[in-house]
Structure formats: structure tokens, C-alpha cells
Amino acid sequence: MSGADIRLDGLQFAYPGGEPFHFSTSFDAGSFTGLIGPSGSGKTTLINLIAGFEEPASGKLYFDGVDAAGTEPAERPVTMVFQDNNLFAHLDVFTNIALGVSASLDLSGDDRTEIAGAMEKTGLSGYGHRLPRELSGGQRQRVAIARALVRDRPVLLLDEPFAALGPALRRDMLRLVSTIHKEREMTVILVSHDPADVKFAATHAAFLDAGRVMANRPVDAFFSASDIPGLQGYLGT
């Protein structure tokens, strides 16, 4: 399945008592965008809106031109990997991945083959019966990515999933995501606080500040630009 394009048209949202966010931007089908910006600028809120975990107060969200209003998270063409708690602690690796296929765990032979394939791709072969607490932080996120693979949705949202990992491990994980992105031609959005990660893995970069998308451009154009308000200050260049 190839990627879907995503368009945000004046999407408004505010937490109770907080400043309102106002998002307008779009992500091309098959692009890999890194979202950067200061904390509180709305990065996580933006992808939560795309995933359907938050309801916008107004504005429109389109997947491939179709209005997503009123659709449940499970009905959207989206899979999300969180920073933490992606796994059910009492279920083993295989079952955690299998939940991506069927919530009631009714698995056909094909499903099992597919899960085995996803585990192989993410370097988890032989770990099927391990419990999450027996895995390293990097391995746990690999399980989450493997589940995203078996869900096979056009859009993959990543909310700083590698923030807790060391630099070398982080590169490995980004390479894995990059490979998957190329193979499946998914639309990938990665929230990150490290511009280097974005440069390393993404095709596009977007900058958020104070609840607005200030820029969203191809990586090369983005990092050489000097007309993006606030970016210089954020990057410290």
C-alpha cells in the first residue's frame, strides 16, 4: 500500500485553559517529514489530531482529499508509534504485534507468516515469546514498528519514539524507518527534537512555533533557508 497525502486546513485546537493551536499545512503522499520546534509548540498535538486522538474545534483534515471529520482513530489510514508504552506489558512480543492484525487474535496462517516477516525485518526473530520487560528500550520500539508494519496503513506517525535511545542506536532505528518508508512508500511524519535526525532520515522538514506551522519544505531547502521566522533562534545558528 502506498502513502496518502494529508492536508490540514485551518485546524484549530486548544487544551482547556491553554493557548489555541492553528494548523494549516500539507504532507505529500510518500513523503517523510520531520517535525521540529520548541517544546509546547504543538508537534505532538498536530499528529494526535491527524491520528484522531484529539478532536479539532474547527477546520478540516483530509486524507487523499477525503474529509476525516467524525471518523474514529481505527478508521483512519494511520498508525502511530508513541514515545513510550507502545506495548502491553503482560503480553509477549508476538501477541503485541498480532494485535495489529486482529484485536481478538484470530490469526490465519497468512497472518502468522506476515508477523514473522515483520519480526524478521525489524530484527526481532526469536524474540516472539519475550515479554516487554525482558527487552531493551530499542527492542521495544522495534516491536512497535513491527506492529505498524503488519497494520500496513498508508500513514505512519512517529512521536519521538527514539528520544530515549543513544545516538548510534537512534541512527539504526532511523535507518530502519527509512528503509520501511522506501519499501512501502508510506507517508511518514516524525516528531523529533534533534534536527540532525531529520536531516539524516527525512525528505521534508517542518518547523512549528507557538502552535503554528511556520514552514514545511524539502530538507535541503529547509535547512538552507533564512526566511523562516523563529527557526534561526531555535536552531541557534
Binding site: G52, F53, P73, A74, D84, N85, F88, L99, A103
Partner: protein, 540 residues
Amino acid sequence: MQTSAATGTKPAVLSGLTAMVCIGLAVVTPMLALIAIAPAMPDLSADYLGFVWSITRFTVLQAGLSTLLSVMAAVPLARALARQASFPGRQAILRLLALPLALPALVVVLGIVEVWGRQGWVSTVLQHTGLAGPLNIYGLTGILIAHVFFNMALAARLLVAALEQIPPENWRLAAQLSFASRHVFQHIEWPVIRSALPGIASLVFMLCIASFAVVLVLGGGPRATTLEVAIYQSLRFDFDPPRAVLLAALQLGLCAGLFALGGRMATDIAVMASVGKPARRPDQATARLTDTLVIAAGLSFMALPMLAIVLSGVTAPFDAIVSQTVFWRALVTSLLLALTAASLCLVMAWSLLAAQRTIMRRRTPSRAAALLMSSMQAAGSLILVVPPVVIGAGWFVVLHRTGLVNSAAPVIVAVVNALMALPFALRILRPAVVGQAQIHDRLCASLGLSGVQRWRLVDLPVLARSLTLAFAFAAALSIGDLGAAALFGSADFVTLPLLLLQKMGSYRSLEAAGIALLLAGFCLGLIWLAEKLRPEATAQ
């Protein structure tokens, strides 16, 4: 660092040690006294032993059934409350669930009789509609209703707290993976409930084993008597200390055995209304109707007896009540007792916690330090294993031989009340003292902040809320206590619950209703004040 270790460490550990030894003495002395007179076991007739066997069986039976029913009712209620995060009045309902813990058992019993008694609301409705005859509340039925009232609320609160610990990502995953309600239960809720249940169930079981006022009033005679009540009766009805010893030994054995068997009890007693921002859940809308029904059922079960207390209380002849000297004496006695017990409880709790904090500060505690640490923790929850009536009975026997029962009564009751509140106070204070202070320890050390200055600038503001709450809770527990006071009550030593029991006994139900309302008002008022007065220093 050296100096702070030399000046700051020792006094804290010493005071903790002292508190531990005092608690040990307060509990162990009466035990030894009981053992000392145990050989003098006269006339234990076969009939009496048969009676003892029957009540031991009944004690376990009622506790087992109470636990089963409480937990079975608590699971759906907790699920419904956790799921319906935006249910109207949800916070108020959660607060209501925390009330029974602070309400005097005797007052609740009065409310329950008003609702479930032969002349009560439910019986009246049943008879008018011709559905069934009047209910008989005396015996096992009444005991179970009262125990479920107390413990369903406790268990439900603990379960809601456990369910709210589920990381929000789990709910997002559930939404994304289109979990149906049964999948949510199977993959998310049940694992959490299952791991919380053994602790909750053993706590409820212990509370029911040691329940006193409920069984005393609703038991309806020897048929439904528990060991706890039989201990009281052996001293107050038969005046037979050796029999009290036998019963106390049995009760102690039962509790200690269960404690050893059941292992850990619920480590976190939901005294505080510590409910976080509830998660948005994918299964909220579909389950709305059933959840509403479950919550309504639970709410009416909890609220009706409380309403009955208020309704019959407000029409009580207060002018007649306040014109009695004995009322004022009971009031003053109860207030002084509560003040003493709560202060004592806080001093003990603080000493234990400060010592533990100091020991924990060392990166690699020696084996002795680790042992000391676990003994201190054990001292704090000793009262859960050794029931208050057993401690009271032991002191009664000790003091009776020296002829000091009457003069020492208030002191013993205050100490026993303080011990009863200690596990709760520790649970309120521990996270604040140990957790928060751990964060500040290094900062304070690097700033050279220690001693009084640190207490004033850091500990007090951070702990003020927990300290007032712990104090209020201990005071409420002491004001409402019947078990310890009943053993020592006399013409010169009357507390409000004892007066209430007397009024109920002499069939002055109107005055009883007034005193019950006052008692409930005191206890809830204390908790309410503590929550109002707190400075918002903890919010960060």
C-alpha cells in the same frame, strides 16, 4: 556532606528507632500479658469450646463473603467510573466513595438500619408493592450489607486509581487497533485489575475480620458473633479475662496467619482524592448506558444510608441532647482523644518516615540498616495484623491487675487510636516524605540547607497538605472509634460513639440520630477542612 551526615543523620534515625520501640512496646506488652495469664485457663467447657469453634467459623465466613461481594460489586463500578471520564458529577461520586473510610462504623450502621431494617425504606417499598415481606437485617445479612457498604467503596476507589494508572498510549492503541469493549477488558483492564485484586481482597478481608461495631449492633446475638466482638463480651459481659486471652490468641493467630498467607496487602489506601486527568477512552460512548446504570446502582447503595443519617439527624431533638451534661463530657472527651491520638500518630509517622528517608539516602545501606528499615516499615502496619480490640484487651488485663483500668483508660484508647490510624497516615505521608524529599535531598545538600531551615523552607510547604490530611484522618478515625473505647468505657469515660451506643441501647433513637449526625459531621468536616486549608504548594 560529612557534617550534614554527622549532624542530620543520627537524630532522625534515633527518633525513628524510638518510635519503633514505643509502637513495639504498646503492642507487645499486652501480648505478653495475655500469654502470661494464658496458663491460668479455667473452666473451658466443651460447650464453650464448641461456641468458640462456631464463632471462629462465622468470623471467617462473614469476612470471606463480605470480601467476595465487595470485590464483585467494586469491579463493574470501578470500570464504569474509570471509563466514563466525563460522567456528570464524577468527581463528587469519587469523593463519596472515599467517605466511608472516615465515617464512624456505628453511624453507618444506624443509616443502614434506617434503609434496610425491618421498618426501613426498602422493607416499606417491598411491602407496599407486595413484592416481599419485611427484610430481616439482624445476623449475616446485615453484617454483609454494612461490610459491602464500607469495602465496595474502598475496593472501587483502589481499582479506579489502578485503572487510571494505565498509560494514555494504551487507550490510543486500543482506539487505533479498534478494540471492542471485551478486548479492552481482556487486554487492558483485566491485567491491571488482576494484579490489584489480591492486595485489595486481602485488605478487605482483614478489615472484615477485625470489624467490631457492625457485628456488635447488627449481629443479633451469639448466632452471628465474631471473635472481635466475643473478646469484648468476654471482658464486658462475662468479666472473664482468661477467656478473652483464648479468643485474642485465636484472633491474632487468624490475622497473622492470613497476613503470612496473603502476602502483600493493598499498598496504597485511597484516602486521598488523588485522581488524575482521566484518559479519553475509545469505549466510552458504547458503554455509556450500562455504565450509567452501574454507577446509579452503586451510588444509590452508597448514598441512601448517608441520606438516612442526615434526614433522621436533622429532625433530632438537639435541645434535649445539648442539655445533657453527659453529652458535653462525651464531646470534650472525644475531641481531646482525637487531638491526642492524631498528634501522637503524626509524631510516630514522621519519626518513622524521616528515619527511613535518612537511611535510604545512603547509596549502599548496610545489612543492619536494611533490617532496621524493614522493621520500621513493619512497625507501621503492625496494627493491621494485631487488631485494636486485642491490644485493648491485653492492656485491660494488665491494668486490671494493677487496678488502674479507669485512670489509664483515656491514655490507652488514645494510643490504640493513634496506632489504628498509623498505617493510613503513613500511606498519606510516605509518597510525599520519601518521594518528594528524595528529589530535594541533593539540591538541599548542595545549597547547605538543613535542619530547621530545610523543614521550614522545603519540607513543610511540600508536606503541609499531606500532614494536615493525615492529621485530619487520624482525628476522624479516633472520633469515630468504638472498638477500643467500648472496652474501657465507664461512667467517667464516655466518648461520643459510646454515648451513641447507649442511646441506641436505651432506645432513644431520636437522640441517637442526632448524635450520629454530629459524629458524621465532625469526621467529614475534618477531612473537608484538611482538603480546603491545604496550600497549593505541591502543584508543580
